[in-house]
């Protein structure tokens, strides 16, 4: 069972602010899901390779050429709710 502190720690790693009620609600739900994952220990995977993708492709190469842009710089900047200055998005202070 995940403790409240463990839930808060994972939320911190994921950069998600949780309310106290959310911590109480998610703890048991996440624990139940993670406990279920133990079923995988039944499978012997000692000499089994990992599958990370199923395309059968590796090292896909392409010509070094510029594709036509799908949108303009202005269109991309229009997507932000934050102020735009000198064609850059102005964010809060970092430190």
């Amino acid at each position: 069972m995940l403790s409240d502190d463990q839930v808060k720690h994972v939320a911190k790693l994921a950069r998600i602010k949780l309310t106290d009620e959310e911590v109480k609600k998610f703890g048991p739900q996440l624990s139940k899901v993670l406990d279920y994952m133990d079923i995988l220990s039944e499978v012997d995977t000692k000499n089994v390779a990992e599958t990370s993708q199923v395309t059968g492709l590796s090292n896909v190469m392409e010509k070094d050429e510029i594709l036509t842009a799908q949108s303009t710089r202005e269109e991309l900047l229009d997507c932000t709710e934050l102020p735009v200055e000198s064609k850059q998005v102005k964010v809060s202070r970092a430190i």
């Binding site: 994952m37 990370s52 799908q70």
Partner: protein, 478 residues
């Protein structure tokens, strides 16, 4: 004359060419159906009336000038609100993106525009495609057209319901662990999940990158073939699309199934699967056997591990993919005051994401974190290999696998929403084919005694969408 919104793609195509009606008439019929039914069903989150009429009139004019136009031209479609549509709101049904208007089209949307599609609007889904019921949408649940107390399935619930209730001629959805097949089976329509890599994912908000696929909902296998023909193929903007030839899918529709070998995996007919569901699927298989197919029982012993494999690797990939949602370049900024940049991230993500997204990001973050990576993530990737090997063995003996799509018909709204693990089990029979990247189609297989649709899936080896369509088409004629 049949109501125009009830037509299939091929019927609409013929009628348009015969000048029996116009594309504008088709749009009128679909919008009228949306007006009268969608208040209850809630399959669309945004209806683009002006855009649809403009596209339809454009088509009608071109046709009147005698231009040679593609099959899908002038035909109304609903598109899952996970696919970017330039200039038209794309929300992923998340509060985070409630007002987001993308500056470019997804490749699939671009291809359909080139075909001359008429987009009616954007359809409902579980937030960021995470769910099996469309209950996790910031716009509310999509109801099942067969029973408004029940869900339409998910995550592509809106796309399934709008076709089932004739509010579009066809629709586009996405399937990561079952998000096309399960809602198709709940709503009694065809739902095509393609091989991983068959259709470009560019411009579609990523959920689990090694699992995501794009496909369609249709009224007939013939229509499935038409849409697949238009959207399949390699795309430089998605380098997971291999350079595998795209065959003429319609050529498979009339192919005889005599001698075709069908495998019935015993694990898909066992515990937890409704008796009626098993019976309807077996009835359909008996018909195929009667038409000359050979049927044998096969075994996919690792089936029971698929849910665990999926709910480790998918949240891991999801948590990485959703890292880009920081509220800065797009999406909602925090409502209150923020201390600094990190606080900005915490607040925008805390406010913007719904419960299920928070849960999955946290599961993903947990299984990828130091000390747990080997035990969860690597283990799951190894068991994924075991699942793939199971399929490879079976496909040495048979040409296709037929099985139920969902263990039960549509469940009630609210029944599973606060019990994530039970909701995850709804995907138990659709996840394995996704794990192996295989094509699978959900076909209507009759109704339950209470009148709810039941679906079966036809699964084939990778890139053999044609064989899947051959069986679906044969079954539709029996």
């Amino acid at each position: 004359m049949t109501e125009l919104n009830k037509l299939t793609i091929s019927e609409a195509y013929k009628g348009l060419r015969a000048k029996e009606f116009s594309s504008e008439d088709l749009v009128n019929a679909c919008l009228t159906a949306i007006g009268s039914k969608d208040g209850d069903i809630n399959s669309y989150v945004y209806v683009d009336e002006d855009g649809a009429y403009d596209a339809a009139k454009h088509f009608d004019k071109k046709l009147s000038l005698g231009e040679d136009l593609p099959v899908l031209a002038g035909i109304p479609v609903g598109i899952k609100d996970l696919l970017n549509t330039k200039g038209v709101k794309t929300t992923c049904c998340s509060s985070f993106l409630r007002d987001f208007v993308p500056p470019y089209d997804a490749t699939v949307v671009e291809k359909l525009r080139d075909e001359g599609m008429v987009m009616l609007g954007k359809t409902n889904l579980d937030e960021f495609a995470c769910g099996a019921s469309t209950e996790h949408s910031c716009f509310g649940v999509t109801k099942n057209p067969y029973d408004l107390e029940r869900v339409a399935g998910g995550s592509s619930g809106g796309s399934a319901a709008c076709v089932a209730a004739d509010m579009a001629i066809y629709s586009i959805g996405t399937d990561t662990g079952g998000s096309i097949r399960q809602p198709a089976s709940f709503c009694g329509v065809y739902g095509m999940k393609v091989s991983y890599g068959r259709v470009s994912r560019s411009g579609v908000t990523a959920m689990a990158s090694s699992w995501d696929t794009i496909g369609s909902f249709n009224k007939t296998p013939e229509d499935v073939a038409i849409v697949l023909q238009a959207i399949a193929g390699r795309d430089r903007r998605d380098l997971t699309t291999p350079d595998v030839a795209v065959p003429d899918y319609s050529s498979f529709l009339d192919k005889d199934i005599k001698g075709l070998k069908i495998g019935l995996p015993k694990e898909y007919f066992g515990e937890g699967v409704d008796f009626e569901v098993s019976e309807r699927v077996k009835d359909a298989v008996a018909k195929l056997e009667g038409a000359g197919a050979k049927v044998e029982e096969v075994s996919l012993p690792s089936t029971k591990y698929a849910v665990a494999v999926y709910y480790i690797t998918m949240p891991a990939e999801l948590s990485a993919n959703l890292e880009r949602f920081d509220g800065i370049r797009y999406g909602k900024k925090p409502q209150g005051n923020v201390k600094d940049l990190v606080d900005f991230y915490f607040q925008s993500r805390g406010e913007g994401f719904g419960d299920e997204i928070k849960r999955r990001i946290m599961i993903g973050t947990y299984v990828l974190s130091a000390g747990y990576f080997d035990a969860y993530y690597k283990k799951a990737q190894r068991v994924r290999t075991v699942i793939i090997e199971d399929f490879k063995k079976v496909f040495k003996k048979v040409d296709v696998i037929i099985a139920p799509v969902s263990p039960t018909p549509a469940f009630k709204v609210g029944e599973l929403v606060d019990d994530p693990l039970s909701m995850y089990m709804a995907d138990a029979l659709t996840i394995p084919a996704s794990a192996a990247g295989l094509p699978a189609i959900s076909c209507p297989a009759g109704n339950s005694s209470t009148g709810l649709p039941i679906g079966l899936q036809v699964i084939a080896p990778q890139f053999e969408e044609g064989t899947v369509l051959q069986v679906a088409s044969a079954l539709s004629k029996l």
